[in-house]
Symmetry: C2
Subunit: 134 residues, 2 copies
DNA sequence: CAGCATCCGCCACGATACTG
DNA sequence: CAGTATCGTGGCGGATGCTG
């Protein structure tokens, strides 16, 4: 969705690869964090705004609407004054939690190695002139 | 990487959440597809270009360089004329394959439900006037 | 064959202000 | 409290052309 889907048929295309379909859903800045905020059950709009550091009201609304459209999130409006709204994962949304947690686990375990690899790479491709400044 | 990392500390921030760290690596248009292309072992540049439908040379090079920098991919230059280059996953890169496959599996199993949910949502929020045209 | 250089359009995202 | 409306922008990604 994020990108135009004008791709022809092939063995690995954006249209028929399962990866792409998932990316179509979760590959943007805030989606996974918002889902993450709901992993323990119902949560109110304002509470999410506080828990997901750095997100703006605009992006939170936009993200949560998209997830609702995708059938991953439910929206419960509680008619009080002022109104409050609770969000939670649907059963379908819950099923996404498991694979996501494994990815998170991978990140926790391996990210330091990635950071090291980057440092090595950057050092190796640094000009000798720049190296002398260290 | 895709986005600026100017976020303060919090319980869910871009900097300390495992999800974000993984997204930092795989969340862009082509990365997962390129990794996918290497899941069965060595593969040459031109072969990837053909297998990953729709990717341009620029983006393939860019993606593969980033993965190399992250320590997930190895580059083997074979000194022939004209030169050929083989790419393959590193041991670290291989470890990412498992969680990625589960995500792909999730996509295969559940994507149709997502598509249905979207159709329902769009229909529900279509104006009655537009509905009459159906 | 396997790239790199350049130019450019587009849209995801951020900031700000207003509302029921 | 939980949103909408509007405007501005950075940089991702596409297209094209050139090299060793």
């Amino acid at each position: 969705m994020t990108y135009s889907s004008k791709t022809k048929q092939s063995d690995i295309s954006l249209s028929n690869c399962g990866y792409s379909k998932v990316l179509d859903i979760i590959s943007n800045k805030w989606t996974v964090l918002v889902i993450y905020a709901m992993e323990n059950g119902k949560i109110r709009y304002g509470e999410m705004l506080r828990r997901v550091e750095g997100i703006s009201k605009k992006m939170l609304t936009q993200t949560v609407r998209k997830l609702e459209r995708d059938g991953l999130v439910q929206r419960h409006i509680i008619p009080t004054v002022p109104p409050s709204v609770e969000y939670s994962l649907t059963p379908l949304g819950e099923t996404l939690l498991q694979p996501m947690k494994e990815l998170r686990q991978w990140g926790r375990v391996n990210y330091t190695q990635v950071v090291e690899a980057r440092a090595n790479y950057d050092f190796a491709y640094t000009t000798t002139e720049e190296k002398f400044r260290l």
